[in-house]
């Protein structure tokens, strides 16, 4: 900032003849202000380039050779299936999360109590922030063979029958929904909150039932927020790693889990890198959908 001020002085001492002097001055200051954050983001970009480079290498000569072999391998039905399955799981989780988020967002915008609104916010933030590992322990205690659910079922039906929700797709889906709720609720609540109550009242006065008020007023007006949240969850969950790793019990393999396997135990870096490239393109591509479905979807 002190340099910013210094630059300001230098910019002014040259005879000010037009508005361009001002913009050159602020240009330097801006560059300085954005540098630290730019370095972090630059590292992210560098990571993308590293991945891209590795994906065109061959195994054990990743940094020197060039090959399309890794991408060719990806065309194998085994990998294609996992990629499709990952996207499907993410899409499914986005739909469920959006449905679950709607009443919560509705409540947050409508409750007259500021305290309740904040408490709800804290409650939905916790599942996203608390370590998923810790929460997976909790799920085990609930869904595990000796857990809460099976005990309750046993008590209710009088017979011992093990329902297994853990370590399969259901468990993974549960985890995916739970950890991304805030991503869906926040843009939705912002959109719902911006609908003037007068519109609802006007519709009611004009004879619309509450149901048709939802259908014709609330949902269409909140759509940008709903869509923004859904797309965010969708994109976020294509990269799902911890949830399938901890709640999938090796039965659910996503792209991210596959990347870990190839990069780690299997030491097939080019293949892992090619999968990474695919995953990045998918995640960012889905995020770009945001622009299509919700032009003003910058709520979160």
């Amino acid at each position: 900032m002190s340099v910013h001020a210094a630059m300001a002085r230098i910019g002014r001492s040259s005879a000010p003849t037009s508005g361009t002097v001002g913009s050159r001055r602020t240009g330097w200051g801006l560059a300085l202000l954005l540098t630290p954050a730019g370095l972090l983001i630059g590292l992210l970009a560098a990571c993308s380039l590293v991945i891209l480079r590795l994906s065109f290498g061959t195994q054990s000569a990743e940094w020197v050779s060039w090959s399309l072999g890794a991408y060719a391998t990806l065309l194998d039905p085994y990998y294609v299936l996992i990629i499709v399955d990952t996207v499907w799981l993410a899409l499914l989780s986005a739909v469920i999360t959006t449905i679950v988020a709607f009443p919560i967002a509705l409540y947050m915008t409508r409750t007259p109590s500021a305290f309740m609104r904040r408490m709800v916010l804290v409650c939905i933030m916790l599942p996203m922030v608390v370590s998923l590992l810790v929460q997976s322990f909790g799920w085990m205690a609930i869904l595990g063979p000796d857990g809460l659910l099976n005990r309750a079922v046993a008590l209710a039906t009088g017979q011992e029958r093990i329902i297994s929700l853990l370590f399969n797709r259901t468990g993974v889906l549960l985890g995916l929904v739970q950890t991304t709720i805030p991503l869906a609720v926040l843009p939705m609540a912002a959109a719902l909150g911006s609908i003037p109550i007068a519109l609802e009242e006007a519709a009611s006065v004009l004879g619309a039932s509450r149901l048709s008020v939802y259908r014709t007023i609330i949902l269409p007006l909140a759509w940008p927020g709903i869509a923004a949240g859904a797309v965010l969850v969708f994109g976020f969950n294509t990269g799902a790693f911890v949830v399938p790793l901890l709640l999938g019990g090796l039965k659910v393999t996503t792209i991210a889990v596959l990347i870990r396997n190839e990069m780690g135990p299997l030491l097939n870096w080019p293949l892992g890198a090619a999968l990474s490239a695919v995953l990045v393109v998918l995640a960012l591509g889905i995020q770009a959908l945001n622009r299509l479905v919700a032009p003003h979807g910058r709520h979160a």
Binding site: G29, C47, R110, G147, L279
Partner: protein, 275 residues
């Protein structure tokens, strides 16, 4: 505010919405509540309901933390490492996020939208890819960054959260206040320190706290970047859960939950005070 005349804010519809919300939140919080509950079990398994309540597992964790232990070593060290990483990450995010937020809030320049987009990128960038790529970079460069590599990784994913809070706080500051400070003899830098920083303090602190707990609880990046010397708590928990699964893990988990809830409440309190 005349809530009574507002349709849908009273009566049956409001009650239904509230009911559904409370049930959903209960479900969302169920695993967390369960962890806390089971950490007080008197039994040695995750049997539900617990055969009795006791503090025996906390006792065990305490002895792990306090004294040297042969069985589950390094718990104290891991906790310390995690707290240090989280604190360092917060500092990095403040140093990077505050000036960048200021630039984005105040300046109008071509490509501003693009820059803002780029700074939000880490939210949607797959964490696994980031972890793998950083691992490749670090191993290729041959540098030994110690916990620095995890701090940098966490700072990348924490930055958007930092900036969101910061920018929201700074948007509410009238630029005229800085101009007033300048006409009273403050340089640009001084005006920033005297006016912008104090007025954006709540936002900066909330952002830093949020980054702190994100880093403290983070698993994926730590998983790729931990070393024998830098062994965060999340990795410790992961290893323990793979080897000996005892309710002691639940006690440690409860510890992390308490820290997380405390920080979240602090953030919320700050946000509430701003309003």
């Amino acid at each position: 505010m005349n809530e009574i005349t507002h349709i849908g804010r009273q009566g049956l519809e409001a009650a239904i919405v509230k009911g559904i919300t409370l049930v959903l939140i209960l479900l969302l919080l169920a695993p967390i509540v369960m962890v806390v509950l089971m950490s007080f079990t008197a039994g040695a398994t995750l049997q539900f309901p617990p055969p009795g309540l006791s503090l025996r597992w906390y006792d065990e964790v305490w002895s792990l933390l306090a004294g040297p232990s042969a069985t589950i070593a390094r718990l104290a060290e891991s906790l310390a490492v995690s707290l240090q990483i989280a604190a360092a990450t917060s500092v990095v995010c403040v140093l990077a996020g505050v000036p960048a937020s200021y630039a984005l809030v105040r300046a109008r320049f071509p490509g501003r939208g693009f820059v803002e987009e780029m700074l939000g990128l880490p939210v949607v960038f797959p964490t696994v890819v980031l972890g793998v790529a950083l691992l490749m970079l670090v191993s290729q460069s041959g540098l030994d960054l110690g916990m620095g590599q995890i701090v940098i990784a966490h700072a990348i994913i924490g930055l958007p959260f930092m900036m969101r809070n910061c920018m929201a706080a700074m948007r509410g500051i009238d630029p005229v206040l800085q101009e007033a400070a300048k006409t009273l003899g403050a340089s640009s830098l001084r005006a920033f320190v005297e006016i912008v920083l104090p007025l954006a303090r709540e936002g900066i602190v909330s952002g830093a706290l949020l980054v702190f707990i994100i880093s403290f609880n983070e698993f994926t990046l730590s998983y790729f970047l931990y070393t024998i010397d830098v062994f965060p708590l999340s990795i410790w928990l992961f290893q323990q859960s793979n080897t000996s699964f005892s309710p002691a893990i639940f006690a440690v988990s409860t510890l992390t939950i308490v820290i997380t809830v405390a920080v979240i409440l602090a953030v919320d309190l700050l946000a509430g005070r701003k309003r």
